[in-house]
């Protein structure tokens, strides 16, 4: 019985010795970030009929994942030969960012990854005038202001780099998928704040954020563990043979 115990314990010791590791770690600063988009105001310089302002707050849960809350305001006007359209409202997005970079590369300064979001848009829209010509003549009317709510999902790949201490720049592409735009089947919104063209099931967006980050905790992250190499079998055999020689 003792032999069995001795054999079992020695087996455990042998197995655990084979898995002995020396861990490499990095100190990873977890941060709270505040960011402001520069694309919307930049676009407004070119197109005075479209104002979109937005920002975000993110909270690092770990070196790989952050919780993100985004919000903004948009005002949109569109005029064409047969109608005018106006829409304004607020939007919010909530979701997570996943950092695909290894902690030893990222170091809390760089981010390259994918964000996933759920978006909510609350807006008012109206059509001050629209016209239609047919056999009976030109018909002209308007659609009074009404409020609506839109829901959408986003996949947002992007990059972010810390240029100065705690000051980052980064861009995000947004692939948006409309769940519902409001307005019913007849009066779909031409513009949905935070989403874009409410007639389309998918739209594309882009943001360029300037972000200020506040480190709130430093986490010791285990990077790739280094396995301690076992001695060669030949060396082991030699030791055993030498040992047996003493007997």
């Amino acid at each position: 019985m003792r032999r069995i115990y001795a054999y079992f314990i020695s087996l455990l010791v042998f197995l655990s010795a084979a898995e002995l590791v020396a861990q490499d770690t990095v100190l990873f600063p977890l941060k709270i970030r505040l960011g402001f988009d520069l694309v919307g105001p930049g676009m407004y310089i070119y197109d005075n009929d479209h104002l979109s302002m937005e920002g975000y707050v993110s909270f690092d849960k770990s070196e790989k994942m952050s919780f993100v809350l985004e919000g903004g305001y948009a005002d949109y006007r569109y005029t064409q030969y047969n109608y005018d359209y106006q829409s304004s409202g607020i939007f919010t997005r909530i979701g997570v960012d996943f950092n695909f970079l290894k902690p030893e590369i990222s170091k809390g300064k760089y981010w390259a990854g994918l964000g996933l979001r759920y978006g909510l848009s609350i807006y008012n829209s109206m059509t001050p005038t629209y016209e239609q010509e047919n056999y009976w003549g030109t018909f002209s009317s308007s659609i009074p202001e009404s409020s609506g709510t839109g829901h959408f999902l986003e996949a947002a790949p992007g990059f972010r780099t810390e240029l100065l201490r705690n000051l980052s720049l980064g861009w995000t592409l947004r692939l948006k998928f409309l769940l519902s735009g409001g307005g019913g089947k007849d009066l779909k919104p031409i513009y949905l704040p935070g989403y874009g063209n409410g007639e389309k099931i998918t739209t594309l967006g882009i943001n360029y954020y300037i972000s200020w980050s506040i480190p709130y905790k430093t986490k010791r992250v285990i990077t790739k563990p280094v396995v301690v190499e076992e001695p060669d079998e030949t060396e082991e055999e030699e030791v055993v043979q030498q040992g047996s020689g003493f007997r």
Partner: protein, 154 residues
């Protein structure tokens, strides 16, 4: 990694360019008028057959929608969006009849490029029976979709 961020100006330039292009009013290639679509049937045989000659005009209008059209199938009746009823004078094979449609109208967004159309919901209809025997309503929704709305038996 910094290079990826610096790559952004090129990306933003492309985006601005696309945005400016999208702001330019694009051409509309879709049907924007919602017509009431009427098919013609022979009353005696109930066969779908266009009349030899159809002339159609709105009551009080000088312009004709169809003038002695042959092989017309279906006939497209443009309803009056400014009114809750539209009255037409239809001459089938040389005999005049009058049809009045009562309808409600509402705007419908065709697309950002095309703007709005006015769709209708057919409520009731009255007609004289000089050559027309019966008018059956098949679909009350008058839209830009190519669907039969009424059947005229003559």
């Amino acid at each position: 990694m910094k290079r990826l961020s610096y790559f952004f100006p090129a990306l933003i330039f492309i985006y601005y360019s696309l945005h400016l292009v999208s702001c330019t009013p694009a051409a509309c290639f879709e049907e924007t008028n919602a017509y009431l679509k009427a098919s013609f049937y022979i009353n005696s045989t109930k066969q779908k057959l266009p009349p030899d000659s159809v002339t159609l005009s709105g009551l009080g209008q000088t312009e004709k929608i169809y003038n002695k059209a042959s092989g017309l199938q279906p006939a497209l009746f443009p309803l009056n969006s400014s009114s809750s009823s539209s009255t037409f004078v239809i001459r089938i094979n040389g005999i005049d009849d009058t049809i009045e449609f009562n309808h409600s109208s509402f705007p419908h967004l065709i697309s950002k490029e095309c703007g709005y159309s006015v769709f209708h919901s057919l409520e009731m209809h009255t007609f004289s029976q000089h050559n027309i025997d019966t008018i059956l309503i098949i679909n009350r929704n008058i839209t830009t979709v190519n669907e039969e709305n009424i059947r005229i038996f003559y």
